[in-house]
Symmetry: C2
Subunit: 204 residues, 2 copies
Amino acid sequence: MTFATAERHYPAPMVQLDSVGSDLLKAASDLLASDGPAALTVRRIANAAGVSTMNVYSRFGGKDGVVEHLFIEGFRRLAAGMSSIAASSDPVADLIACGLAYRRFAIDNPTLYSVMFDRVVPDYRPTPEAHLLAGATLGLLADRVERAMTAGALRSSDPLSTAALVWATCHGVVSLELKEVGPTAIDWPDVYDRAMTMIMTGLA
Amino acid sequence: MTFATAERHYPAPMVQLDSVGSDLLKAASDLLASDGPAALTVRRIANAAGVSTMNVYSRFGGKDGVVEHLFIEGFRRLAAGMSSIAASSDPVADLIACGLAYRRFAIDNPTLYSVMFDRVVPDYRPTPEAHLLAGATLGLLADRVERAMTAGALRSSDPLSTAALVWATCHGVVSLELKEVGPTAIDWPDVYDRAMTMIMTGLA
DNA sequence: ACGTTGCTATAACATTGTTATCACGGCGTC
DNA sequence: GACGCCGTGATAACAATGTTATAGCAACGT
């Protein structure tokens, strides 16, 4: 990635995954969760999966391809978590529930979260497809926002920008919490709750 | 850093900087700004400064020492930007001005910002001193918050947690803006303004 | 039964952070 | 003023990384 070739794309979407391929992905995910991003090396992934390094290249086109899969998997899980919130009669409560699901995902998958939002793998850039998926996740939130607007629970405005505002708020708090900036005396879950309610009342 | 030694600290605070040292730091900063974090290699830094690689080790103890200096420099600039806002008769307006200064810093120094808040250099962890400095920057904001509270412009609460809330909001929006997640149709400056005013009215 | 094809493992290469070796220059001492 | 020592810095060596090339091997088609 850094070295020889400058620009190239990973092999197509790869809808179906080989047994070895899924083993590699699982090994990479476990390695990332247990030993952090620095331990995510091609050789270690292959060793953990019990195969040779070449499989990483034949199946994923290189290390970045594996990271891309983790990136996508992360957004898939995040989207699943937010989608699991059933639409109730109180759209604002649903939005808050989505926000809590967002935080739960981040806290439960901190390394995955850092792959998605920190650029923890030095020169990995999401492909357009992955970018689109991230945008779709935002769209999921925008749908909820729009529903709340048509129900009159939220002041009418651009749903996408408003969803971005909500997302940014959630991301900001949980991001600082995960990075452990500032003194440890801060009650982050409380800050999260306060931020959520403030945004919601501000949007109402 | 990744290789031989596992744990070690960088040479003391280094209050005074050699001419070669400052050249190295400037070269590293320029390199980071121009070619991104992947280009921040020891050899390249040394070459750009016109000296040999050993100087990086004798003066900064390794690459992480240089990154640490950039990290600190970033927080210093951020603190300077926020400190430049003079205290007026309207403490809330001052806080908003601080928020705008925050965004300006991030937009003007995106790579520095990513060193500070993304873990863009794989396994660099801020030393306790750097951590403390980051906390002090938050304290700067907390002072303003406290002033606004005693003036009655903001509801009384824990200043530090409230400052963390403000910080997280600013960070969340600008972080997503810099990472270019989601569609490009979003008017991030507007989202930033909306988030700021919402937090402020929510805290009032 | 034989040739071809595709995959996998091993080894080579360029680049990285780091450490060791060594030469050279400035200082103190006689 | 000449000599020895120390310390600084440049060069080269080392371990580990992502990537690519080479070679072996098994399975398939004819």
